[in-house]
Symmetry: none
Subunit: 228 residues, 2 copies
Amino acid sequence: MSKKILIVDDEKDILDLLEFNLQNEGYNTVTASDGEQALLTAKAENPDLIILDIMLPGKDGWEVLKELRKDPQTLDIPVIFLTAKDSEIDEVLGLELGADDYIVKPISIRKLLARIKKVLKRSKTKQPENDDRIIVDELVIDPQSYKVTSADQDIVLTKKEFDILYYMAKRPGRVITRKILLDEIWDENVVVIDRTIDVHIRKIREKLGTENMGLIETIKGVGYRFKV
Amino acid sequence: MSKKILIVDDEKDILDLLEFNLQNEGYNTVTASDGEQALLTAKAENPDLIILDIMLPGKDGWEVLKELRKDPQTLDIPVIFLTAKDSEIDEVLGLELGADDYIVKPISIRKLLARIKKVLKRSKTKQPENDDRIIVDELVIDPQSYKVTSADQDIVLTKKEFDILYYMAKRPGRVITRKILLDEIWDENVVVIDRTIDVHIRKIREKLGTENMGLIETIKGVGYRFKV
DNA sequence: ATCCAATGTTAAGTTAATGTTAAGATAATG
DNA sequence: CATTATCTTAACATTAACTTAACATTGGAT
């Protein structure tokens, strides 16, 4: 899965330069040329990283960063500052506000790529993304909150139940054998009998309620299947 | 509306130079020539910006800044440091204490004016009140003062407790794993066991009291969740 | 239709995770 | 440097989750 990077700069040359190089490296890119646009795009596109010029028309980079950090939806997106000034002050201030790194213009692409890698790697281990949610009709399975709702009604699943449901829902229409579930959901070297899985499935079906009846189908002799 | 700038310096030459140039640019000016006077004037005149020499008779610039930041009335007034020393230490120290910029003597008026503009612009867009407060029903979590109130009753949390609560409250509905808390709240290379986190959570829950019962949910096997 | 292997079901046993308390270690403060 | 508040831990209690055994039911093969 290619990472999405939002580039914010008002100079078209720089935007083009960065976009070209980042796409060349296999990144997915979106751009914005002022602060307002940057904030909107950040919310809409949910990028994995934002490269943010400090000097911007309208809202400047600091203000953008501040607002990004205010919104739970964009709060955790790492930001790399871009600045033409070589004053260390700018950098320090930016970092104190919570930028994750900075790059001084003129830009060394090599350097920038290295920093991007570093920052992305750091954030990789973090929580599931907002758009990892699975929605099937009235059913919402959200790994970020570890919550399932059916028609806005909370369904409280235990960890194992959630993991199983999420795994299957991510692969609708595919038959999931018990062996696969064991490999994927359970730790290695843990051995449980098949009936254990059945019990979990039963619990899930029960909790999903009659309105989601038949969502998890049994394929006798093979395994289970999440209805497409 | 012309902006009011307080200039603090013990050298009359510099005071005059700055006053002349700033008034020329359309700013309103007031002056002080030592630390005590600076503090009094700052409170009385409520300037939009303070230009503060570091070397002062009596209380020096740092002490003045420190006291400015202590008083809610002067807390948010941006300060530009004036310094004859070019040692980076001074600069960093000043910034950590909350100066918004610095100018090295001998003064380049052009530079100073540019910085003033920048700082004023930045502070103009600053929201009047601490808008990074989090409010959930009767509960207010204010990172500016590191204070929590529930139904106007003060709740005294320790730093760690506050940090944890604030981090979670900023991400309501999301499950926060212990690992993430460790990464985000604790310094790198500090290792604490999971039970430590639980103890902090317990303390927070206890201090939040019965009226906030259930605000922090436990997702067994996963982590904690701040109720939406 | 009947049989039988596979799955469903229930409740009870087992394990793992978290809650709790108090005491010891550490850091902040005067 | 002494004092105090904060943080961390160990040990144990509690609770929820997980697993299993035992038995019931089912659905497809014959």
